[in-house]
Protein backbone atom coordinates (compact mmCIF):
# COMPACT_ATOMS: atom_id res chain seq x y z
CA UNK A 1 0.00 0.00 0.00
CA UNK A 2 2.73 2.45 1.01
CA UNK A 3 4.86 1.36 -1.93
CA UNK A 4 1.99 2.04 -4.32
CA UNK A 5 1.44 5.43 -2.73
CA UNK A 6 5.14 6.27 -3.10
CA UNK A 7 5.12 5.32 -6.78
CA UNK A 8 2.01 7.43 -7.37
CA UNK A 9 3.64 10.33 -5.54
CA UNK A 10 6.82 9.99 -7.58
CA UNK A 11 4.80 9.92 -10.80
CA UNK A 12 2.80 12.92 -9.64
CA UNK A 13 5.89 15.02 -8.87
CA UNK A 14 7.44 13.95 -12.15
CA UNK A 15 4.36 15.06 -14.08
CA UNK A 16 4.04 18.31 -12.13
CA UNK A 17 7.67 19.18 -12.84
CA UNK A 18 7.17 18.34 -16.52
CA UNK A 19 4.04 20.48 -16.65
CA UNK A 20 5.83 23.41 -15.01
CA UNK A 21 8.78 23.12 -17.39
CA UNK A 22 6.47 22.91 -20.38
CA UNK A 23 4.42 25.85 -19.06
CA UNK A 24 7.54 27.96 -18.70
CA UNK A 25 8.82 26.88 -22.10
CA UNK A 26 5.51 27.71 -23.77
CA UNK A 27 5.33 31.14 -22.17
CA UNK A 28 8.97 31.83 -22.95
CA UNK A 29 8.62 30.82 -26.59
CA UNK A 30 5.42 32.86 -26.89
CA UNK A 31 7.12 35.91 -25.36
CA UNK A 32 10.08 35.65 -27.67
CA UNK A 33 7.80 35.00 -30.64
CA UNK A 34 6.62 38.59 -30.25
CA UNK A 35 10.24 39.67 -30.47
CA UNK A 36 10.86 37.28 -33.35
CA UNK A 37 7.78 38.54 -35.15
CA UNK A 38 8.99 42.11 -35.01
CA UNK A 39 12.51 41.17 -36.03
CA UNK A 40 11.33 39.03 -38.94
CA UNK A 41 8.93 41.77 -40.05
CA UNK A 42 11.72 44.32 -39.90
CA UNK A 43 14.21 42.18 -41.78
CA UNK A 44 11.72 41.36 -44.52
CA UNK A 45 11.08 45.09 -44.90
CA UNK A 46 14.78 46.12 -44.93
CA UNK A 47 14.58 47.52 -41.40
CA UNK A 48 16.49 46.67 -38.23
CA UNK A 49 13.69 45.91 -35.77
CA UNK A 50 13.78 46.39 -31.99
CA UNK A 51 17.37 46.86 -30.85
CA UNK A 52 17.21 49.31 -27.95
CA UNK A 53 16.22 47.24 -24.90
CA UNK A 54 19.24 45.13 -24.06
CA UNK A 55 21.67 43.60 -26.58
CA UNK A 56 19.90 43.18 -29.96
CA UNK A 57 16.71 44.30 -28.19
CA UNK A 58 16.48 40.96 -26.41
CA UNK A 59 14.79 42.48 -23.36
CA UNK A 60 11.97 43.85 -25.52
CA UNK A 61 9.38 41.17 -24.55
CA UNK A 62 9.96 41.88 -20.83
CA UNK A 63 9.58 45.62 -21.37
CA UNK A 64 6.45 45.03 -23.44
CA UNK A 65 5.04 42.89 -20.63
CA UNK A 66 5.80 45.58 -18.07
CA UNK A 67 4.08 48.11 -20.33
CA UNK A 68 1.00 45.90 -20.64
CA UNK A 69 0.79 45.51 -16.85
CA UNK A 70 1.04 49.23 -16.15
CA UNK A 71 -1.58 50.33 -18.70
CA UNK A 72 -5.00 51.45 -17.58
CA UNK A 73 -7.34 48.48 -17.32
CA UNK A 74 -10.37 49.99 -19.01
CA UNK A 75 -13.79 48.36 -19.16
CA UNK A 76 -16.72 49.72 -21.18
CA UNK A 77 -19.79 50.63 -19.13
CA UNK A 78 -22.15 48.49 -21.18
CA UNK A 79 -19.93 45.41 -21.21
CA UNK A 80 -21.14 42.11 -19.78
CA UNK A 81 -18.91 42.36 -16.75
CA UNK A 82 -18.09 38.76 -15.86
CA UNK A 83 -17.89 37.37 -19.37
CA UNK A 84 -15.72 40.32 -20.33
CA UNK A 85 -13.24 39.39 -17.61
CA UNK A 86 -13.55 35.65 -18.15
CA UNK A 87 -12.97 35.58 -21.92
CA UNK A 88 -9.24 36.38 -22.13
CA UNK A 89 -8.54 33.93 -19.33
CA UNK A 90 -10.53 31.21 -21.08
CA UNK A 91 -8.68 31.86 -24.33
CA UNK A 92 -5.33 31.64 -22.55
CA UNK A 93 -6.34 28.50 -20.63
CA UNK A 94 -7.39 26.68 -23.79
CA UNK A 95 -4.23 27.74 -25.59
CA UNK A 96 -2.06 26.38 -22.79
CA UNK A 97 -4.00 23.13 -22.42
CA UNK A 98 -3.22 21.85 -25.92
CA UNK A 99 0.47 21.40 -25.21
CA UNK A 100 -0.25 18.49 -22.84
CA UNK A 101 -0.32 15.70 -25.42
CA UNK A 102 2.65 16.66 -27.59
CA UNK A 103 5.46 14.10 -27.27
CA UNK A 104 8.66 16.09 -26.82
CA UNK A 105 10.96 13.11 -27.01
CA UNK A 106 11.26 9.45 -26.18
CA UNK A 107 12.52 9.20 -22.63
CA UNK A 108 14.72 11.23 -20.36
CA UNK A 109 16.81 9.41 -17.74
CA UNK A 110 16.82 11.42 -14.54
CA UNK A 111 18.45 10.02 -11.36
CA UNK A 112 18.29 6.54 -12.83
CA UNK A 113 14.55 6.60 -13.56
CA UNK A 114 13.18 6.96 -17.08
CA UNK A 115 10.85 9.92 -17.53
CA UNK A 116 8.39 10.15 -20.42
CA UNK A 117 8.69 13.47 -22.22
CA UNK A 118 4.95 13.86 -22.59
CA UNK A 119 2.56 15.19 -20.00
CA UNK A 120 -0.28 12.82 -20.90
CA UNK A 121 -0.10 9.96 -23.39
CA UNK A 122 -3.76 10.01 -24.36
CA UNK A 123 -4.68 7.32 -26.88
CA UNK A 124 -6.86 9.95 -28.56
CA UNK A 125 -4.19 12.68 -28.48
CA UNK A 126 -4.99 14.24 -31.83
CA UNK A 127 -8.72 14.31 -31.03
CA UNK A 128 -7.89 16.08 -27.77
CA UNK A 129 -6.00 18.75 -29.70
CA UNK A 130 -8.85 19.16 -32.19
CA UNK A 131 -11.29 19.47 -29.30
CA UNK A 132 -9.33 22.12 -27.52
CA UNK A 133 -8.59 24.18 -30.60
CA UNK A 134 -12.32 24.29 -31.31
CA UNK A 135 -12.93 25.42 -27.74
CA UNK A 136 -10.44 28.21 -28.38
CA UNK A 137 -12.98 30.13 -30.41
CA UNK A 138 -15.12 30.57 -27.29
CA UNK A 139 -12.54 32.94 -25.83
CA UNK A 140 -12.81 35.11 -28.94
CA UNK A 141 -16.56 34.77 -29.31
CA UNK A 142 -17.41 35.50 -25.69
CA UNK A 143 -14.91 38.35 -25.52
CA UNK A 144 -16.24 39.92 -28.70
CA UNK A 145 -19.84 39.60 -27.61
CA UNK A 146 -19.31 40.75 -24.03
CA UNK A 147 -17.54 43.95 -25.15
CA UNK A 148 -20.88 45.26 -26.47
CA UNK A 149 -19.21 46.84 -29.48
CA UNK A 150 -20.28 46.21 -33.04
CA UNK A 151 -16.73 45.86 -34.34
CA UNK A 152 -15.90 43.38 -31.61
CA UNK A 153 -19.04 41.45 -32.48
CA UNK A 154 -18.13 41.43 -36.17
CA UNK A 155 -14.70 40.11 -35.29
CA UNK A 156 -16.16 37.43 -33.07
CA UNK A 157 -18.68 36.32 -35.70
CA UNK A 158 -16.00 36.18 -38.35
CA UNK A 159 -13.72 34.22 -36.06
CA UNK A 160 -16.38 31.63 -35.30
CA UNK A 161 -17.45 31.25 -38.93
CA UNK A 162 -13.83 30.90 -39.95
CA UNK A 163 -13.10 28.32 -37.27
CA UNK A 164 -16.10 26.23 -38.26
CA UNK A 165 -15.16 26.34 -41.95
CA UNK A 166 -11.51 25.50 -41.55
CA UNK A 167 -11.84 22.95 -38.79
CA UNK A 168 -13.72 20.68 -41.20
CA UNK A 169 -10.90 20.60 -43.72
CA UNK A 170 -8.38 20.29 -40.91
CA UNK A 171 -10.21 17.32 -39.43
CA UNK A 172 -10.42 15.64 -42.82
CA UNK A 173 -6.66 16.13 -43.32
CA UNK A 174 -6.05 14.58 -39.92
CA UNK A 175 -8.29 11.60 -40.73
CA UNK A 176 -5.98 10.78 -43.64
CA UNK A 177 -2.99 10.79 -41.28
CA UNK A 178 -4.89 8.62 -38.82
CA UNK A 179 -5.74 6.13 -41.59
CA UNK A 180 -2.08 6.05 -42.58
CA UNK A 181 -0.67 5.53 -39.11
CA UNK A 182 -3.57 3.53 -37.68
CA UNK A 183 -3.48 5.39 -34.40
CA UNK A 184 -4.84 8.52 -32.74
CA UNK A 185 -2.04 8.75 -30.21
CA UNK A 186 0.53 11.41 -31.01
CA UNK A 187 3.21 9.40 -29.22
CA UNK A 188 2.77 6.43 -31.53
CA UNK A 189 2.55 8.67 -34.58
CA UNK A 190 5.90 10.22 -33.66
CA UNK A 191 7.44 6.83 -32.93
CA UNK A 192 6.32 5.47 -36.33
CA UNK A 193 8.14 8.26 -38.15
CA UNK A 194 11.59 7.16 -36.95
CA UNK A 195 14.52 8.25 -39.07
CA UNK A 196 13.39 9.85 -42.30
CA UNK A 197 10.13 7.92 -42.61
CA UNK A 198 8.10 11.10 -42.19
CA UNK A 199 4.41 11.40 -42.94
CA UNK A 200 5.02 14.34 -45.30
CA UNK A 201 6.27 11.88 -47.96
CA UNK A 202 2.90 10.10 -47.90
CA UNK A 203 0.70 13.12 -47.20
CA UNK A 204 1.98 16.15 -49.12
CA UNK A 205 -1.53 17.34 -50.00
CA UNK A 206 -2.76 16.60 -46.49
CA UNK A 207 0.10 18.65 -45.08
CA UNK A 208 -0.72 21.58 -47.34
CA UNK A 209 -4.37 21.52 -46.27
CA UNK A 210 -3.45 21.18 -42.61
CA UNK A 211 -0.92 24.01 -42.86
CA UNK A 212 -3.37 26.42 -44.48
CA UNK A 213 -6.03 25.48 -41.94
CA UNK A 214 -3.70 26.01 -39.01
CA UNK A 215 -2.92 29.48 -40.34
CA UNK A 216 -6.64 30.13 -40.28
CA UNK A 217 -7.11 28.51 -36.85
CA UNK A 218 -4.35 30.68 -35.37
CA UNK A 219 -6.00 33.79 -36.84
CA UNK A 220 -2.75 34.56 -38.61
CA UNK A 221 -2.43 36.61 -41.78
CA UNK A 222 -3.58 36.10 -44.50
CA UNK A 223 -6.56 34.77 -42.53
CA UNK A 224 -6.60 37.31 -39.69
CA UNK A 225 -10.20 38.27 -40.41
CA UNK A 226 -11.10 38.28 -36.72
CA UNK A 227 -8.91 41.27 -35.93
CA UNK A 228 -8.18 43.00 -39.21
CA UNK A 229 -7.18 46.47 -38.13
CA UNK A 230 -8.13 48.22 -41.33
CA UNK A 231 -11.73 47.08 -41.25
CA UNK A 232 -12.61 46.28 -37.65
CA UNK A 233 -10.23 48.49 -35.59
CA UNK A 234 -8.98 45.57 -33.51
CA UNK A 235 -11.72 43.01 -34.11
CA UNK A 236 -12.75 41.04 -31.06
CA UNK A 237 -10.22 42.74 -28.77
CA UNK A 238 -11.12 46.32 -29.70
CA UNK A 239 -12.45 47.08 -26.21
CA UNK A 240 -9.70 45.30 -24.33
CA UNK A 241 -6.72 46.99 -22.77
CA UNK A 242 -3.91 46.33 -20.34
CA UNK A 243 -3.11 42.71 -19.51
CA UNK A 244 -6.47 41.45 -20.77
CA UNK A 245 -5.39 42.50 -24.24
CA UNK A 246 -1.98 41.09 -23.38
CA UNK A 247 -3.58 37.72 -22.63
CA UNK A 248 -5.28 37.68 -26.03
CA UNK A 249 -2.15 38.60 -27.95
CA UNK A 250 -0.04 36.23 -25.90
CA UNK A 251 -2.45 33.33 -26.28
CA UNK A 252 -2.34 33.79 -30.05
CA UNK A 253 1.41 33.30 -29.99
CA UNK A 254 0.98 30.25 -27.77
CA UNK A 255 -1.53 28.90 -30.29
CA UNK A 256 0.99 29.46 -33.05
CA UNK A 257 3.71 27.66 -31.09
CA UNK A 258 1.48 24.69 -30.36
CA UNK A 259 0.16 24.37 -33.89
CA UNK A 260 3.71 24.50 -35.26
CA UNK A 261 4.64 21.74 -32.81
CA UNK A 262 1.61 19.72 -33.95
CA UNK A 263 2.53 20.20 -37.62
CA UNK A 264 6.05 19.00 -36.87
CA UNK A 265 4.74 16.00 -34.96
CA UNK A 266 2.09 15.00 -37.47
CA UNK A 267 4.00 15.44 -40.71
CA UNK A 268 7.67 16.11 -40.03
CA UNK A 269 8.67 13.24 -37.80
CA UNK A 270 8.26 14.94 -34.43
CA UNK A 271 11.47 14.41 -32.46
CA UNK A 272 13.02 12.24 -35.21
CA UNK A 273 15.71 13.37 -37.58
CA UNK A 274 17.82 11.10 -39.80
CA UNK A 275 21.24 10.54 -38.22
CA UNK A 276 20.21 11.97 -34.88
CA UNK A 277 19.17 9.60 -32.11
CA UNK A 278 16.51 11.29 -29.93
CA UNK A 279 18.12 9.49 -26.98
CA UNK A 280 21.36 11.47 -27.17
CA UNK A 281 22.30 13.88 -24.37
CA UNK A 282 20.33 11.66 -21.99
CA UNK A 283 17.17 12.06 -24.07
CA UNK A 284 17.42 15.83 -24.52
CA UNK A 285 18.17 15.54 -28.24
CA UNK A 286 14.51 14.73 -29.03
CA UNK A 287 13.11 17.96 -27.58
CA UNK A 288 15.89 19.96 -29.26
CA UNK A 289 15.06 18.48 -32.68
CA UNK A 290 11.33 19.05 -32.22
CA UNK A 291 11.90 22.61 -31.02
CA UNK A 292 14.11 23.31 -34.02
CA UNK A 293 11.38 22.12 -36.38
CA UNK A 294 8.78 24.12 -34.45
CA UNK A 295 10.85 27.29 -34.65
CA UNK A 296 11.29 26.76 -38.36
CA UNK A 297 7.52 26.60 -38.82
CA UNK A 298 7.00 29.63 -36.59
CA UNK A 299 9.39 31.44 -38.89
CA UNK A 300 7.40 30.28 -41.93
CA UNK A 301 4.18 31.53 -40.27
CA UNK A 302 5.75 34.95 -39.78
CA UNK A 303 7.28 34.93 -43.24
CA UNK A 304 3.82 34.32 -44.72
CA UNK A 305 2.25 37.00 -42.56
CA UNK A 306 4.67 39.67 -43.77
CA UNK A 307 4.38 38.61 -47.40
CA UNK A 308 0.74 38.09 -48.26
CA UNK A 309 -2.11 40.57 -47.98
CA UNK A 310 -5.29 39.60 -46.15
CA UNK A 311 -7.99 37.63 -47.94
CA UNK A 312 -11.36 39.20 -48.46
CA UNK A 313 -13.99 37.53 -46.33
CA UNK A 314 -15.87 35.93 -49.24
CA UNK A 315 -12.57 34.69 -50.70
CA UNK A 316 -11.77 33.15 -47.34
CA UNK A 317 -15.08 31.32 -47.21
CA UNK A 318 -14.80 30.21 -50.85
CA UNK A 319 -11.30 28.88 -50.26
CA UNK A 320 -12.43 27.00 -47.18
CA UNK A 321 -15.63 25.43 -48.44
CA UNK A 322 -15.07 25.14 -52.19
CA UNK A 323 -11.38 24.30 -52.36
CA UNK A 324 -9.98 22.94 -49.14
CA UNK A 325 -12.82 20.63 -48.13
CA UNK A 326 -13.14 18.91 -51.56
CA UNK A 327 -9.36 18.62 -51.68
CA UNK A 328 -9.30 17.14 -48.18
CA UNK A 329 -11.98 14.60 -49.12
CA UNK A 330 -10.02 13.69 -52.26
CA UNK A 331 -6.90 13.32 -50.13
CA UNK A 332 -8.80 11.08 -47.74
CA UNK A 333 -10.09 8.85 -50.54
CA UNK A 334 -6.65 8.58 -52.12
CA UNK A 335 -5.07 7.74 -48.77
CA UNK A 336 -7.73 5.10 -48.12
CA UNK A 337 -7.09 3.51 -51.51
CA UNK A 338 -3.34 3.61 -50.93
CA UNK A 339 -3.62 2.05 -47.50
CA UNK A 340 -5.85 -0.73 -48.90
CA UNK A 341 -3.46 -1.41 -51.80
CA UNK A 342 -0.17 -1.41 -49.92
CA UNK A 343 -1.23 -2.96 -46.63
CA UNK A 344 -2.09 -6.27 -48.33
Amino acid sequence: MTALLLITLALLTEKIILILVLFGLTLGVAAYSTYGERKVAAFLQDRLGPNRAGPFGLLQPLVDGAKMFTKEDFMPNAAERWLYILAPGAFMFVALMTSAVIPWGTQLTLFGTPVDLQVADLNIGILYIMGFTSLGVYGIMVGGWASNNKYSLYGAIRASAQMVSYELAMGLAIIAVVMLTGTLSLKEMAAQQAGFNWNIWYQPLGFLIFFVCSLAECNRAPFDMAECETELIGGYHTEYSSMKLGFYLFAEYINMFISCAVISTLYFGGYNFPGIDPGWLGGLMGPIVLLAKTFFFIFVFMWIRWTIPRFRYDQLMRLGWKSLIPLAILNMVLTGAGVLLFSN
Partner: protein
Protein backbone atom coordinates in the same frame (compact mmCIF):
# COMPACT_ATOMS: atom_id res chain seq x y z
CA UNK B 1 1.35 62.41 -72.83
CA UNK B 2 2.94 59.22 -71.60
CA UNK B 3 5.44 59.94 -68.83
CA UNK B 4 6.67 56.45 -68.00
CA UNK B 5 6.21 52.98 -69.44
CA UNK B 6 5.28 51.52 -66.09
CA UNK B 7 1.54 51.49 -66.67
CA UNK B 8 -0.13 48.15 -67.34
CA UNK B 9 -3.32 47.42 -69.19
CA UNK B 10 -5.78 45.78 -66.83
CA UNK B 11 -7.92 43.03 -68.28
CA UNK B 12 -10.84 41.70 -66.30
CA UNK B 13 -10.37 38.10 -67.40
CA UNK B 14 -11.13 34.96 -65.45
CA UNK B 15 -8.26 33.64 -63.38
CA UNK B 16 -6.51 30.58 -64.74
CA UNK B 17 -6.16 27.41 -62.70
CA UNK B 18 -2.68 28.29 -61.44
CA UNK B 19 -3.85 31.74 -60.45
CA UNK B 20 -6.90 30.34 -58.71
CA UNK B 21 -4.99 28.02 -56.40
CA UNK B 22 -2.91 31.03 -55.25
CA UNK B 23 0.12 28.89 -54.39
CA UNK B 24 2.48 29.90 -57.24
CA UNK B 25 1.78 33.56 -56.52
CA UNK B 26 2.21 32.99 -52.79
CA UNK B 27 5.54 31.23 -53.28
CA UNK B 28 6.74 33.94 -55.67
CA UNK B 29 5.87 36.55 -53.06
CA UNK B 30 7.69 34.63 -50.38
CA UNK B 31 10.75 34.37 -52.61
CA UNK B 32 10.70 38.15 -53.01
CA UNK B 33 10.46 38.79 -49.29
CA UNK B 34 13.14 36.27 -48.31
CA UNK B 35 15.55 37.99 -50.68
CA UNK B 36 14.94 41.18 -48.71
CA UNK B 37 15.59 39.26 -45.47
CA UNK B 38 19.27 38.90 -46.35
CA UNK B 39 19.67 42.24 -48.06
CA UNK B 40 21.59 45.13 -46.54
CA UNK B 41 19.21 47.15 -44.39
CA UNK B 42 18.25 50.66 -45.41
CA UNK B 43 17.41 51.78 -41.89
CA UNK B 44 20.00 53.53 -39.71
CA UNK B 45 20.37 53.55 -35.94
CA UNK B 46 19.14 57.12 -36.02
CA UNK B 47 20.45 59.12 -33.08
CA UNK B 48 23.88 57.44 -33.29
CA UNK B 49 24.12 57.27 -37.07
CA UNK B 50 22.75 60.12 -39.15
CA UNK B 51 22.22 60.26 -42.85
CA UNK B 52 24.21 63.14 -44.41
CA UNK B 53 22.07 66.01 -45.63
CA UNK B 54 22.18 67.09 -49.24
CA UNK B 55 24.06 70.35 -49.87
CA UNK B 56 20.80 71.90 -51.06
CA UNK B 57 19.24 71.39 -47.60
CA UNK B 58 18.35 74.70 -45.96
CA UNK B 59 17.81 74.69 -42.20
CA UNK B 60 18.65 76.71 -39.08
CA UNK B 61 20.68 79.81 -40.03
CA UNK B 62 24.13 80.55 -38.71
CA UNK B 63 25.89 83.93 -38.44
CA UNK B 64 29.53 83.22 -39.21
CA UNK B 65 32.65 84.59 -37.57
CA UNK B 66 35.94 84.97 -39.38
CA UNK B 67 39.13 83.07 -38.56
CA UNK B 68 40.01 85.50 -35.74
CA UNK B 69 36.59 84.99 -34.17
CA UNK B 70 35.12 88.36 -35.26
CA UNK B 71 31.52 88.57 -36.47
CA UNK B 72 31.25 88.94 -40.23
CA UNK B 73 27.90 90.71 -40.19
CA UNK B 74 27.96 94.48 -40.74
CA UNK B 75 24.22 95.00 -40.38
CA UNK B 76 23.88 96.27 -43.95
CA UNK B 77 20.30 94.97 -44.05
CA UNK B 78 20.48 93.38 -47.51
CA UNK B 79 19.28 90.06 -46.11
CA UNK B 80 16.27 91.72 -44.50
CA UNK B 81 15.46 93.44 -47.80
CA UNK B 82 15.88 90.21 -49.75
CA UNK B 83 13.72 88.22 -47.35
CA UNK B 84 10.35 87.55 -49.03
CA UNK B 85 8.77 86.55 -45.73
CA UNK B 86 10.06 89.60 -43.83
CA UNK B 87 11.39 87.34 -41.13
CA UNK B 88 14.66 89.21 -40.46
CA UNK B 89 14.99 92.32 -38.31
CA UNK B 90 18.17 93.95 -37.07
CA UNK B 91 19.52 97.00 -35.26
CA UNK B 92 22.92 98.35 -36.27
CA UNK B 93 25.47 99.78 -33.86
CA UNK B 94 28.92 101.35 -34.13
CA UNK B 95 31.97 99.45 -33.00
CA UNK B 96 33.61 101.03 -29.91
CA UNK B 97 37.32 101.13 -29.22
CA UNK B 98 38.52 97.84 -27.76
CA UNK B 99 35.85 95.82 -29.57
CA UNK B 100 38.03 95.14 -32.60
CA UNK B 101 38.35 91.50 -31.54
CA UNK B 102 34.53 91.11 -31.58
CA UNK B 103 33.43 92.69 -34.86
CA UNK B 104 35.29 92.70 -38.15
CA UNK B 105 34.18 96.13 -39.39
CA UNK B 106 33.14 99.44 -37.83
CA UNK B 107 29.44 98.66 -37.99
CA UNK B 108 27.83 95.56 -36.52
CA UNK B 109 24.39 94.15 -35.68
CA UNK B 110 23.55 94.82 -32.05
CA UNK B 111 20.29 92.94 -32.48
CA UNK B 112 19.71 90.34 -35.18
CA UNK B 113 16.49 88.33 -35.07
CA UNK B 114 14.97 85.77 -37.40
CA UNK B 115 11.40 84.70 -36.81
CA UNK B 116 11.57 80.98 -37.57
CA UNK B 117 7.79 80.76 -37.94
CA UNK B 118 7.84 83.37 -40.72
CA UNK B 119 11.01 82.10 -42.40
CA UNK B 120 10.35 79.97 -45.46
CA UNK B 121 13.98 78.76 -45.66
CA UNK B 122 14.34 79.96 -49.25
CA UNK B 123 18.01 80.93 -48.83
CA UNK B 124 17.71 84.35 -50.46
CA UNK B 125 19.39 85.94 -47.41
CA UNK B 126 22.60 84.02 -47.92
CA UNK B 127 22.58 84.87 -51.60
CA UNK B 128 22.09 88.56 -50.80
CA UNK B 129 24.81 88.70 -48.14
CA UNK B 130 27.96 90.49 -49.43
CA UNK B 131 30.03 89.54 -46.38
CA UNK B 132 29.49 85.76 -46.31
CA UNK B 133 27.99 86.26 -42.86
CA UNK B 134 24.76 84.27 -42.99
CA UNK B 135 24.33 80.66 -44.13
CA UNK B 136 21.56 78.11 -43.91
CA UNK B 137 22.85 74.92 -42.31
CA UNK B 138 21.78 71.28 -42.06
CA UNK B 139 20.59 71.74 -38.49
CA UNK B 140 16.86 71.30 -37.95
CA UNK B 141 14.97 74.03 -36.07
CA UNK B 142 13.59 72.33 -32.95
CA UNK B 143 9.91 72.29 -32.09
CA UNK B 144 8.54 74.41 -29.26
CA UNK B 145 5.27 75.16 -27.52
CA UNK B 146 5.59 78.95 -27.37
CA UNK B 147 5.54 81.28 -30.37
CA UNK B 148 7.93 83.72 -28.69
CA UNK B 149 10.64 81.05 -28.59
CA UNK B 150 10.73 80.85 -32.35
CA UNK B 151 12.19 84.36 -32.63
CA UNK B 152 15.86 83.44 -32.73
CA UNK B 153 18.22 86.15 -31.51
CA UNK B 154 21.96 86.41 -31.81
CA UNK B 155 22.44 83.89 -28.98
CA UNK B 156 20.98 81.19 -31.22
CA UNK B 157 22.27 82.40 -34.55
CA UNK B 158 25.92 83.46 -34.08
CA UNK B 159 28.37 80.58 -33.95
CA UNK B 160 30.76 80.19 -31.01
CA UNK B 161 34.34 81.44 -31.00
CA UNK B 162 35.88 78.14 -29.88
CA UNK B 163 36.87 75.74 -32.69
CA UNK B 164 34.50 73.03 -31.48
CA UNK B 165 31.55 75.45 -31.45
CA UNK B 166 32.11 76.60 -35.05
CA UNK B 167 29.48 75.52 -37.57
CA UNK B 168 30.93 73.95 -40.70
CA UNK B 169 29.39 75.44 -43.85
CA UNK B 170 32.07 74.52 -46.39
CA UNK B 171 29.79 72.13 -48.28
CA UNK B 172 27.05 74.74 -48.46
CA UNK B 173 29.54 77.46 -49.43
CA UNK B 174 30.94 75.32 -52.27
CA UNK B 175 27.40 74.58 -53.45
CA UNK B 176 26.54 78.30 -53.48
CA UNK B 177 29.65 79.33 -55.44
CA UNK B 178 28.98 76.61 -58.00
CA UNK B 179 25.37 77.73 -58.28
CA UNK B 180 26.45 81.35 -58.74
CA UNK B 181 28.96 80.36 -61.44
CA UNK B 182 26.26 78.48 -63.34
CA UNK B 183 23.91 81.46 -63.10
CA UNK B 184 26.60 83.87 -64.35
CA UNK B 185 27.46 81.58 -67.25
CA UNK B 186 23.88 81.35 -68.48
Amino acid sequence: MQLTNRSKNVVNKKMSFWERIYLPAVLAGMWTTIKHFFRKKNALNYPEVKRPFAPVYRGWHVLKRDAQGRENCTACGLCAVACPAEAITMEAAERKKGEENLYREEKYAAVYEINMLRCIFCGLCEEACPKEAIFLTDRIVPADYVRQNFIFGKDLLVEGVEPEKRVDVTVRQKHLTEKKAVELAS
